[in-house]
Each structure stands twice: as C-alpha cells, then as structure tokens.
C-alpha cells in the first residue's frame, strides 16, 4: 500500500516551520501590507531559521533536507503570509540552477553564502516580451575574450532589489537559437535593479526590473554549457519554481479554510452559527476537497523530486490545480465572510488579492495546461 503519511521527522519540520511562521512572520504582515516593501528583519529571521539552507547539500553548508521539507516549510509560511512564502520560494529557485548545473567551483563559491542567507538569490527569465515563451527574450550575450558581455532588461523578477546572486537567461547575440544562463552578482558594473512594482497582492514580496548594460560577466559565471542555457533555466522553473508555487498555494488554501471555519462557527444567523447552514457547509467541503487533492498532488511531486525523478509534469498538474484552487478558496472564504470579507481588517481580503498573484507566477494556468496536454499526448 502507498504510504501517504508524513514521517515523524517531517511532522517536526512542519511544526518548526509553523512556529517560525506564527512567531516571526505574522508580526511583520501588517507592515508588509501597508508599505508593500520587503521586511529585511524578516529576511534575516528566515536566514537564522535556516530556511534558505533547506535544499542545499550539507557539503556546501546547507541542510540537504530536499524538496518535501521545502514544500512543508513553504506551505506553513504561506499560510501566514503568501508574500513571505513567495520570497522564500524564489530564493530556492535562484539557488537551483547552481545546484543542478553549477561546477564544483561555482557551488563552493556561491552556495555556502546562499545557505546562510548572507547572500540572497533569484532567477531572471521573464522580459517584457513575455515569460511564458522564454525563446522570445531579447537579452543578449556576446563573447569578449574570456568574458561575456550582457545587455538587456528583465521584468517581474521576484527579489530583484534584494537579491545578490541572480541566474539570468540571455540569448546569443549572433545565434538566436542559442541561450545561456549566467550568474550575475549585485555590484557588477552596468548591472542594477531598476523599477519596483506595486502589486495588488503578495505585498511585501519585492518584484521589479533588472537592467544590464554592457555588463561584463566572467566565464566562471556561465552555468552549464554555453548555448544550452534554456534547459538550465527551464529545469529550475519546472521543478523548483512550480513546486514552490504549489507550496504558496497550499498555504493560502489552508489559511482560507481555517478562517472560514472559525468565522462560520462564530457568526450567528437565524439564531445559529452559519456553519450549520448547508450552503456554507457546501463551500467548506469544496475548500477541504481542494486542499486535500492539492496536497496529494503537490507532495507526490515533491516526493518524486526527492527521489531524483523527473517531476516537472507532475508539478505542472499540482501547480495548475492548487493555484486555481487557492483562487476558488479565497473567493469562497470571502463569500462566507459576507460584508466583512471586503474589509481590510479581515485577512480574507488579503487572501483574495494574494490569490490572483499566484496564477501567473512560474507559468500561468493556461501554460500549465499546454505542458500537461503535451505530456498527455507524448
């Protein structure tokens, strides 16, 4: 029989993440919502709680706990703040290309600092020409002696203004079919974070633009084989990017259900709690079914990833399902709360705004369906 239960140790990881979220993340949420800015205190707390070290092997200063543990942590943190979950998920997304395709020298140079949170990571693929079609990017690189010269702009990049180490996808200046991925570092001449977005949801998670003009990148910063960079970027997004969004979505689903149950048990209508009304029960049941199904899909994919199996298709299914389900959950939670659901004092209004940012991140639902259909037809 298939064992669907988490191990005793994984349950403890959940507890550790839960305690962190309740004590360190929750107090920062009002400020993040108000200002829309990253809480650097929260980033520091995440680092101290070893959140950035989860997927990095012990030999490079990490914990080597893998992707199920990461999903657990993301779910629990996102239950309290999807913005904090998103920030954390993209740290891992930035780390993954180095982890998977980096040379030993690159791993030794970058991973220990990324594990401790001394340096923060991100990855940059999307451009104004689109993120769903990475071949349409306009950023270019050209060889110049031993170095590469990069030019271009990236947009909608999570952690753009706080990241120190960013894996960037660019196109060969002379060969439009060749792409390469480079590690770019804060402080490189000609490389800077520019416009900062003001998002409707996930406020307090930084999103912005990156610009690089005649930026010289040493050959030591090329990740993987020159010309094969599309695979490097997409592999990271396929597994870690989608997997991370599943964690964010599951956390939001769980939060929506929790507040809805609490409100439905406390709100009295017709002389009884509204949780006794069948129409409310129907919504709670739908939310519960979606959460259970989302967890089965997400944790199955993470378990495959931990075994070293290809899991990007399974994560596409989980990402599609759980982010759509999170939007449904936020709508139902808002409906259950009635007029209160429209008030900023109630978390459901934030859940509603956050849910809409989950969709496009790491690939829209429509793109997930393209991937799933391709998998089905293959």
């Amino acid at each position: 029989m298939i064992d669907f239960t988490l191990t005793e140790e994984q349950e403890m990881f959940r507890k550790a993440a839960q305690e962190f979220a309740e004590t360190q993340v929750a107090p920062k949420v009002p400020e993040m919502e108000e200002t829309g800015k990253v809480s650097l205190e929260l980033v520091k707390a995440m680092a101290e709680a070893e959140m950035m070290a989860l997927t990095i092997p012990e030999e490079y200063g990490g914990l080597g706990l893998g992707y199920t543990a990461r999903l657990i942590a993301l779910e629990e943190i996102s239950k309290v703040s999807v913005a904090a979950g998103m920030m954390l998920q993209v740290f891992a997304l930035g780390i993954e290309p180095i982890l998977k395709y980096g040379t030993d020298a690159q791993k030794k140079k970058f991973l220990p600092g990324l594990a401790t949170g001394e340096r923060l990571a991100s990855t940059a693929v999307t451009e104004a020409t689109g993120g769903s079609d990475p071949t349409g990017i306009r950023s270019t690189y050209k060889k110049d002696g031993e170095d590469y010269i990069l030019n271009g702009r990236k947009c909608f990049i999570t952690n753009a203004h706080i990241a120190d180490t960013i894996t960037v996808l660019a196109k060969d200046d002379e060969n439009p079919k060749a792409f390469s991925t480079f590690i770019m570092e804060k402080g490189m001449d000609g490389f800077k974070a520019t416009h900062e977005e003001n998002k409707v949801g996930m406020r307090g998670c930084n999103t912005g633009e990156l610009a690089y003009e005649n930026c010289r990148v040493p050959k030591e910063n090329l990740v993987g084989v020159e010309g094969k960079g599309l695979g490097v970027a997409l592999a990271a997004i396929g597994d870690v990017g989608r997997g991370g969004m599943v964690g964010c979505a599951l956390g939001l689903q769980a939060a929506c259900l929790d507040v809805s149950v609490k409100f439905a048990n406390e709100r009295i209508l017709y002389g009884k709690p509204i949780s006794r009304l069948q129409t409310i029960q129907n919504k709670l049941a739908d939310m519960k079914i979606d959460l259970e199904a989302g967890r089965l899909l997400g944790y199955r994919a993470a378990s495959m990833q931990d075994k070293g199996e290809r899991s990007s298709n399974e994560f596409a299914v989980a990402k599609y399902f759980s982010t759509e389900a999170a939007q449904r959950a936020a709508k139902m939670a808002s409906d259950i709360h009635g007029g209160y659901g429209c008030m900023e004092e109630y978390a459901v209004s934030r859940y509603m705004r956050d849910s809409f940012v989950l969709g496009p991140s790491a690939g829209t639902s429509d793109i997930m369906k393209v991937i799933i259909a391709r998998w089905t037809l293959s």
Binding site: E8, E9, E11, M12, F13, K15, A16, E19, F20, T23, A49, E50, A53, L54, L63, L65, A69
Partner: protein, 265 residues
C-alpha cells in the same frame, strides 16, 4: 559532568481546547480526537536546562510517562537540544493520578542514574494539579522549589532561585540535588530548528515498562492512585452581547460603568 533530568508530558493541544471531550464513564479526557503536544510549561523547564548547558558542561535527559505516541514529544525535546530521551510506557501505567505519576517518574529518574537537578513544568495544561514536581521530590527525598521565576545564582552545590508567591516572591537558597518546577517568567523557550531535528536523528529514546522499572503493578497506574475523579464537568461559557445606545460619550460612560460593576475595572 552535571546531570539534568527534565520531566515532560504529552498533553492535548491547548489550541484545540474546544474539541477536548470528557469520557462520561471514566471521567478522563478523550485524547484520541485531539493531537498531543509537549506540555507548554515543560518547554520552559527544558529551556532552563538548555540555558544551563550553554554555560556549563552538562548532560540533559528527558523523561516522560505516556503511551508510545508520547515518544514524539520526547523526540521533539531531543530536537530542541536534550541529549537523551526516556519514555516510561506500559499499559499498567495508564490511569495514574499525580501521586502514581510522580512515583513512576521518580523510579525512572533513579534508573537513569545519578543526577544533580530535576526540572519540571509548574503544571500540566490538562491536569493542572502542580503536584507532580513536589511529589517526585518527596519520593526522591530531595528538596523542591516550586514556581521558580529566575535562577539567580548557580554556586556549586547551592543554587539561589526566585520563586513566585501569590502576593510577591521568595528567594530560596537550596542545596542540589533538587527539583525545580518552573513558570513562564523563567525564560523564553527556543523554537524547533531544522538542524536540531537533523541532530536528533542520532539521539536515542529508551523505553521502559513495568518490568524494567522493577515496580509492582499495585504501585503504578490506576491501581497505584490514591485519588479518584468522582465527577467532572465542562464549563458552559457563553458570551452575552449588549448593544449600548446613545452618543459616543454616553456609550463610553455606560461602558465604563458596566465594566466597573462587573469588577473588571
């Protein structure tokens, strides 16, 4: 090396208090419906031991009595930094009152070996008798200081601790080995860490039953309990809602008056 024993208990999660039900026949808590967690005050007891260990060479043993599932909370204590875990688990231990629990724990402490200090939470969140700590001390024939809020000085065999009283506090100089029951004012317990959980993989939990402890069935569990719960009832607490009428100032005046009448102000 300094030897510390921390006694811990698995209790129904206080966050799920509204779901806790009482068995009308046995008058005991129906634990199956509610997840079991580490008794909140025991975290402060463990933290006291961990803070001592950060300053001095010490070994921390965690001891609990409960069903095999209580091993989870012992494991959690190991992840928080304790060195070794002991679980007293046997069907014969079931139904123990505070006296039988303290007797069994005292036997466990003796079996663990020589010790310098025993830390306990002041009370458990489910029983709340505050008896177990003092009774352990009685069985071990050593001093006890209850409700400690501060460890003022560790001075060799003599410790000075501050303990709360209803209307103040007392400073107690006590010779160890001794039992201390701790309050929330003593420290701020640390959180579980991922690396702590990984380190706990290599730490052992030893399980002992009635045979290993060398105690008779008559002295433990329900049979060894001199007290019985004759009746138990749930408190029905209901909110009363009253809407105050009038201008803002008038309503404020009425509110203050009502709070004063209710004894809140």
């Amino acid at each position: 090396m300094f030897k510390i024993v921390v006694c811990v208990k698995a209790v129904p999660d206080p966050k799920e208090a509204c779901n806790i039900k009482i068995d009308p026949v046995t008058k005991t808590l129906m634990r199956c419906d509610v997840p079991m967690v580490l008794n909140p005050l025991d975290k402060y007891a463990l933290e006291a031991a961990l803070q001592f260990k950060e300053q001095f060479d010490a070994h921390i043993s965690v001891l609990s009595m409960g069903p095999p599932e209580a091993g989870n909370i012992v494991k959690e204590c190991l992840a928080l930094g304790a060195d070794q875990g002991f679980l007293l688990s046997d069907r014969a231990f079931a139904g123990a009152d505070a006296f039988a629990t303290a007797y069994t724990l005292a036997k466990g402490i003796e079996k663990i070996g020589p010790f310098d200090v025993v830390f306990c939470g002041m009370a458990s969140s489910d029983g709340s008798t505050e008896w177990v700590g003092p009774e352990i001390a009685t069985f071990l024939k050593i001093p006890v200081v209850t409700r400690i809020t501060e460890i003022v000085e560790y001075n060799g065999q003599w410790w000075t601790v501050k303990a709360e009283l209803e209307n103040g506090y007392r400073l107690v100089r006590v010779q160890i080995p001794a039992v201390f029951t701790v309050t929330r004012a003593l420290n701020t317990p640390r959180r579980l860490s991922f690396s702590g959980i990984i380190k706990a993989r290599k730490k052992e939990i030893t399980q002992w039953g009635i045979q290993q402890l060398g105690v008779s069935e008559a002295s433990v569990g329900l049979k060894g309990s001199p007290s019985i719960v004759s009746t138990i009832a749930t408190m029905d607490s209901r909110r009363k809602v009253e809407i105050l009428e009038g201008k803002r100032e008038e309503k404020a005046e009425q509110l203050v008056q009502r709070l004063a009448n209710a004894g809140v102000l």
